[in-house]
Structure formats: structure tokens, C-alpha cells
């Protein structure tokens, strides 16, 4: 009996073996001055009063390092909305973690950026909503955001942080992808991440306004391929394609509960940032339990570990240890079943339907956006 309790099992009771996580996403707040209509935060946002303290984060970082985590991505919301951000960063470095700061660049002054340098930030990732003020300010819902970002990028360069530009692309800005790559080069970025909007949560509310067309996806692929050749040795280009146009799904998180974990502002520990979109799944909290125990023994992390839980066509598929059946949250959203083969996979029985819906959304004649906002009183 005791033995059974200690053997981690997936949601069907198959024994699974938890590995060691490499990276942790620390969403230190959901507060953000921007209102991007594809925000990856859940539609139900956490209020400031429920946020973990800097000392709580220090404890979580030490537990993460003991568990094998090497890198922390400090994100949000906008992490700069936390006045004690430098203290959070210092705790992460004290725990021995490599600190990536994921920011919009809005609300962090030059003075604070220098403070973050002293606290030990290793690398800065700056988000880009578009090129030039008109698009960047409209998509972010924040007038003046473009100018503030460009100042911020200059300070990053002056201080000497390595810089990654994170350009989120969709139907309304994909034509400007070559300009975004040029801008990243001008700003001295070592790397640009070109990420097509993933249609979960807020983005799903904006499918009709943001879904790229098939032609745009092909254009983006060509631009990325050409730029990789041209910029070899000067700038790295990472590309997350529009998966509704793919043949096989993404290996989400490199496999559920295998290499990464996410801690939400209130301490909830998630296998991925969208996992709360699976309504029946219960998640544990670092306020109640050690991070290592949650990683090893919680039902949520063990649910989709390994391959035993997979239905057909995944179970007999050669690719089951390559893409792990795709994204569980996308399966939930599109098939109504978190266990299903990710419907963006061409082998899914729902694939034709998903493609037809994406094509219809891509052709929708609207640019109207539903912005990410906290509800009144939040």
C-alpha cells in the first residue's frame, strides 16, 4: 500500500518516472500596464493582494534549485509592476539560478534597470507588439509604449545586458516581420524570438482578428529562413510557427511535466502557463507544499507524464516521444478533451474541422480587438 502511494502514476494509473526540471517560469504578478489581446495570462487574473512576497519567492527559488532547475524566467504580467523586483531577482541569484527577465520595458526606469543589474539579472527579453508607434501602441493598448520601449532598449544596450527581442506576430502585423528582424539587429539583440500568437485564453477571444492566413504563415517561414542564412553568427532567430498550419503539433513544454514548470503569482504550481484551462485539473500551491514534492508527486504533474495515457492515434504513432501528442490545453480547447490528440495534428480526426475554422477566422473581415484587462475592482 505504502509502495503504491510513493509510485507516481498518470491519470490512468500507469507508473511514471518524473525527471528533473531545467527551467521555471516565475510569473511574479499579473499586473501589467499593457493590454495585449493575446496575453498568455489566464482570463481570470490574480489580484495584487494574493501575490507571493519576495521572501516567498526566495524560498521557492531555493526549492527549485534543489530540484535541478538551472534557469528562472521572471515574467508576469509586467514584472516591473512589482516594486520589490530587485529583491526577487537577488533571491534567485542567491539560489544559484540564471535569471532571465521577461519584460515589456514599460514601467522600468533607467535607474531601476541599473538596480536590477546590481541585483544580478543575467539577460533581458523585451517584447515587441509591432513596428513603429501606430501598430505597437494599438496592439498593446498603451499609447506611448513604442517610444518607452525604444528608450528601454537603449538602456539595456548601455548597461550591457544580453538582449532578446520577443516579437509576437499575427495577421495584423506579420507583413512587417522583416522590419522587426532589422530592428532587433539595430538594437544589438543577440537573439529574436518570432512567436506566432498561440490561440489560448485571451488570444482565443480574438481569433477572428488575429488568426494568420496560410499565405502569411508561408511568408513568415521564408523570411525566417532567409534571415537565418544572412545573420548566421550575428543573431539567432527562434521561430514559433502558427501551428494551425502545421502537419504535426508542437512538443508542448518538451513533454508535460518533463523539463519545465510554472509558478503563478499566488503560488499555484502549473505544468504550463495555460494548464488552468483544463477545468477538472486541481493544482497545488507552494504555500502548502514543497515545490519538489509537487513536482514529484502531484496528480497534475503526473497526469500526462510518459506515454501510457495516450489514446489513438498517438498510442501507436512513431512520433509519440517526439511531440508527446501535442498540447493538452489545445486538446481541451479544440476537442473538449485534454487527453485527446492535439487537433492541430494532421492525424487527428478533428484536424479538417480545425483547419476549416482557422481558415474561416483568417478570412474574417475584422480588426476589432478585445483587450486584456483586469475586471473593475481588481
Amino acid at each position: 500500500m505504502k509502495d503504491q502511494q510513493h509510485q507516481p502514476r498518470d491519470l490512468d494509473g500507469n507508473p511514471v518516472t518524473p525527471g528533473l526540471p531545467m527551467a521555471m517560469l516565475a510569473e511574479v504578478t499579473h499586473r501589467c500596464p499593457l493590454a495585449c489581446p493575446y496575453c498568455s495570462n489566464p482570463v481570470e487574473l490574480t489580484r495584487a493582494a494574493q501575490e507571493l512576497t519576495a521572501d516567498d519567492w526566495g524560498r521557492v527559488f531555493r526549492q527549485a534549485a534543489d530540484l535541478g532547475v538551472l534557469q528562472v524566467h521572471i515574467s508576469g504580467g509586467e514584472p516591473g509592476a512589482r516594486r520589490d523586483l530587485a529583491q526577487i531577482v537577488a533571491h534567485a541569484r542567491d539560489a544559484g539560478l540564471y535569471v532571465n527577465l521577461i519584460t515589456s520595458g514599460i514601467g522600468i526606469t533607467r535607474e531601476r534597470l541599473e538596480e536590477l543589474d546590481r541585483a544580478g539579472v543575467d539577460h533581458v527579453q523585451l517584447s515587441l507588439q509591432g513596428i513603429r508607434p501606430d501598430m505597437a501602441d494599438r496592439i498593446s493598448g498603451h499609447p506611448g509604449s513604442w517610444d518607452k520601449k525604444m528608450h528601454f532598449a537603449e538602456w539595456v544596450k548601455d548597461i550591457g545586458f544580453p538582449l532578446t527581442i520577443n516579437a509576437v506576430v499575427h495577421r495584423q502585423n506579420l507583413e512587417r516581420l522583416p522590419d522587426m528582424i532589422d530592428l532587433a539587429e539595430t538594437l544589438g539583440a543577440r537573439r529574436i524570438e518570432v512567436a506566432t500568437v498561440q490561440f489560448h485564453g485571451w488570444a482565443d477571444l480574438n481569433r477572428k482578428a488575429l488568426m494568420p492566413t496560410r499565405e502569411q504563415a508561408a511568408f513568415a517561414r521564408q523570411v525566417v529562413n532567409d534571415a537565418r542564412v544572412r545573420l548566421r553568427g550575428r543573431m539567432v532567430i527562434d521561430y514559433v510557427p502558427a501551428d494551425h498550419h502545421a502537419v504535426f503539433p508542437k512538443a508542448c513544454m518538451g513533454g508535460w511535466g518533463s523539463t519545465g514548470l510554472n509558478v503563478a503569482p499566488d503560488g499555484t504550481v502549473l505544468p504550463c502557463h495555460a494548464a488552468q484551462s483544463i477545468p477538472w485539473m486541481r493544482f497545488e500551491n507552494v504555500r502548502d507544499r514543497d515545490l519538489g514534492e509537487i513536482w514529484q508527486n502531484s496528480d497534475s504533474f503526473n497526469a500526462f507524464r510518459g506515454t501510457g495515457w495516450m489514446p489513438e492515434p498517438c498510442q501507436s504513432c512513431d512520433r509519440k516521444t517526439i511531440d508527446f501528442g501535442g498540447c493538452r490545453c489545445q486538446a481541451m480547447a479544440l476537442a473538449g478533451d485534454a487527453r485527446a490528440t492535439d487537433p492541430v495534428c494532421s492525424l487527428s480526426p478533428l484536424h479538417a474541422q480545425v483547419v476549416a475554422r482557422a481558415e474561416a477566422d483568417a478570412g474574417a473581415d475584422t480588426a476589432n480587438l478585445i483587450y486584456r484587462r483586469m475586471r473593475k475592482g481588481d
Binding site: L20, M22, A65, L70, D122, H123, P162, R191
Partner: protein, 105 residues
């Protein structure tokens, strides 16, 4: 069908006189949990084998690749041209990922 070479070596991004170095934001570190050495870089931790660790441990920001190769060849009692190829290919891969920079003397 045309025959393909067993491996296609990408064009090298480092010459013998170049001085390779780890730029800000990239560092060698012990991974105490896994008991290995890792190269920590922006949003990426790369697990190193003993050879990778030995090469990167030589990057002091002042010696050229040629000097590093000579040192490694002497230390491991291995032919210099073989070491040169291994070092060049390894560093080229890291330069492509912007985890190693080079400067001219």
C-alpha cells in the same frame, strides 16, 4: 540517387588568430543536482561533456584559438590538427547560437 557526404561541416566562424570568449550573460557552472558541468546562456542551459568543458575552460579572453589548441594538444597528448578541427567545430556551433563571441587580436 546522389551520394551524400556522411557529415556536412558548416563553414567555420572562427579563425586560428581569433580570440574566442564567453560574452556577458554566458558562464560555465556546476550543476550540483545532476553532477555535470553546464554552460548557462540566455534562456538556455547546455549540458557539457568533459571535452566541451575542457575547451570552454580555456577561453580566458586573451589567448587565440591557435594557442588554445596547442595547449589542449599538449595536455591531452593528441595530434594538434585533430584537436584544431574539434575545437573549431565546437566553437562554430556556439558562435552560431551566440553563446561564444570572437574578437580579432
Amino acid at each position: 540517387m546522389t551520394a551524400q557526404p556522411a557529415s556536412i561541416r558548416p563553414a567555420p566562424l572562427v579563425a586560428p588568430d581569433d580570440i574566442p570568449y564567453l560574452p556577458r550573460g554566458v558562464r560555465l557552472q556546476d550543476d550540483r543536482v545532476r553532477g555535470i558541468r553546464v554552460l548557462q546562456a540566455p534562456e538556455r542551459a547546455m549540458q557539457l561533456d568533459a571535452i566541451g568543458d575542457a575547451i570552454l575552460g580555456e577561453l580566458d579572453g586573451s589567448r587565440s584559438m591557435a594557442a588554445i589548441v596547442s595547449g589542449l594538444a599538449a595536455r591531452y597528448n593528441a595530434p594538434e590538427d585533430q584537436i584544431a578541427g574539434d575545437v573549431r567545430d565546437f566553437l562554430t556551433g556556439l558562435i552560431e547560437r551566440r553563446m561564444v563571441f570572437v574578437r580579432q587580436p
